[in-house]
Symmetry: C2
Subunit: 285 residues, 2 copies
């Protein structure tokens, strides 16, 4: 049971977490904090939080669980603002889509690594953002990856794990570096490819016609290009190295396909497409 | 009203067309023809066709509408096999995903361009293939692009148009070259990117783990990589030039994104992502 949960950034992820825990009845009080009073009032009116404050130091008073659910670029400033105000027994976690940069931001913001900090990342989301898009079932049946540090307190780890399990999520642990590599491949790269494709088509002369004849597969394929541009800029900057590495591998693979088409090498194309279809069918039916 | 419809290739597209026309009650008899008696018997048992033959010349006897719904690579051989057997009043059309290559194949197969030939392409499909995946509603509300030639008989054009309208499709016309350019951008390129991404990940050392952490967006994004590899090989070979052109443009755009990440140029990334999101949201809600 969480007595007082403080959530920084009551948007899609932070809001959904609060709603899920309230629905599960495992959280006594939720305090919200961010920059905009209007957004916080909206969260209050939706019943997502019990109260709010614009003052980070006040927000963490008496909290036994503190969740950083702000954009990656805002993590450091929030930590700096709560430094010295966090109760020693409070567990601290975050939901950032890249983990190495958050670990760095937390260390910088606090001036040292808080022992109760357990980095986390729910593998769940939609293309929408803001508290109006939040819903309690967002994490149900989805994975949450925790990337505990060598310094992470085991009690704090257990409490963060329990919190996510109470949302219906399946919790797993990975190292920070491994998380960032895997997510670069499965999430960050696909988003960049989709943004790149839509931008590429949008810049063509006949863009209206191009999109007019786009079929069902195109809609699915490009849905992730409707995601929040600011969040994706942050992710690109935060997970730069791992993304550049998978991007380089991908561009090589695309080069293989291109050269096979140029050379009219049907066998090479068939081999690539068959291997891809087999992998897709095996792993994601 | 079609008296006798002959369909070459009673698979996903050919089978769905037959089912849609029978459901609409606008087709008296459907004759199926392909290579495999087993597949044709399956079509008969599902009630998709009234009878079948393995002999193309026999299949077109007395037909007033002939539809080529075989893979792109098989169009020419089917035409050569029915040359001299088609009734002069029969309308001839196809459903191939690229049009320039089919026009060429028909001309070669017949030794000249049949005046009643009207190329066509339904912008509808699934990742499945074969008659077992066919269903009568496949074309409902979807676009069908006809690309009539200068030589195309206007009566044949009208009959092909009416046939597709009776499936619930919206029929439009484009030139052959324009169709191939637009489809290269909206359909062929996305499929190649998805095949390339899945293949790229499948070849990584940690492939099981990679796919394990793939989230919902990844499933949508890669669904089209489950499509038939043979069909996509054919499309790559058939629409080679238009595909290579859009692929080159796309690789340049990906290079822009990569360089912006390398240079940690958040403004450039934000601009690309915002433009893409705006275009996606405008055209494909
Ligand atoms: N969306 C996804 O698919 C997804 C999935 C997994 C993880 N994540 C991660 O979750 C985090 C939040 O993403 P989200 O999708 O929930 O975004 P969101 O819906 O836009 O919510 C972000 C929240 O942060 C607040 N905020 C923004 N800048 C702030 C600042 N400088 N100081 C304090 N609060 C600030 C905003 O409220 P105010 O406007 O009132 O400040 C808003 O409530 C990000 O770190 C992201 O990487 C996202
Ligand atoms: N799937 C899509 O999303 C989609 C969308 C629009 C257009 N198209 C086009 O539609 C056409 C058919 O695609 P589909 O998805 O319907 O494929 P499909 O389900 O695999 O059906 C193809 C049919 O063609 C027959 N066939 C294959 N090779 C043949 C040959 N050499 N001679 C005679 N018959 C042959 C097959 O039957 P046997 O095995 O008995 O020969 C099968 O019935 C292709 O030209 C494709 O470009 C497909």
């Amino acid at each position: 049971m969480i007595k007082r949960l403080t959530i920084f950034g009551v948007g899609l992820i932070g809001g959904s977490l609060a709603m899920a825990l309230r629905a599960a009845g495992t959280c006594h009080e939720v305090v919200g904090c961010s920059r905009s009073e209007e957004h916080l009032r909206q969260a209050l009116e939706r019943g997502v939080i019990d109260r709010y404050t614009l003052d980070p130091a006040e927000a963490v008073q008496g909290a036994d669980m503190v969740v950083l659910a702000v954009p990656l670029g805002a993590m450091r400033a929030v930590c700096a603002a709560i430094r010295g105000h966090l109760a020693p027994e409070a567990a601290l976690t975050d939901v950032g889509s890249a983990k190495g940069s958050v670990v760095e931001a937390v260390r910088e913001g606090f001036g040292e690594m808080p022992l109760n900090f357990v980095p986390g990342h729910p593998i769940a989301g939609t293309e929408k953002s803001g508290v109006s898009a939040a819903f309690p079932g967002l994490f149900h049946g989805r994975r949450v990856i925790l990337t505990p540090l060598e310094t992470s307190d085991l009690g704090a780890l257990a409490r963060v794990r329990t919190m996510w399990e109470e949302t219906g999520a399946v919790v797993e642990t990975l190292s920070v570096a491994h998380h960032d590599e895997v997510l670069a491949a499965t999430s960050h790269l696909p988003h960049l490819l989709a943004f790149g494709l839509v931008d590429s088509l949008a810049r063509m002369g006949e863009r209206d016609e191009i999109f007019r004849y786009a079929a069902g597969g195109f809609r699915d394929f490009t849905r992730i290009a409707s995601s929040d541009p600011v969040m994706w800029r942050d992710i690109c900057l935060a997970n730069r190295e791992a993304i550049l590495q998978v991007m380089a591998g991908y561009q090589q693979d695309l080069g293989l396909i291109t050269r096979a088409i140029e050379a009219q090498d049907g066998d090479a194309l068939l081999e690539i497409f068959q291997r891809a279809k087999a992998a897709r069918d095996e792993f994601c039916q």
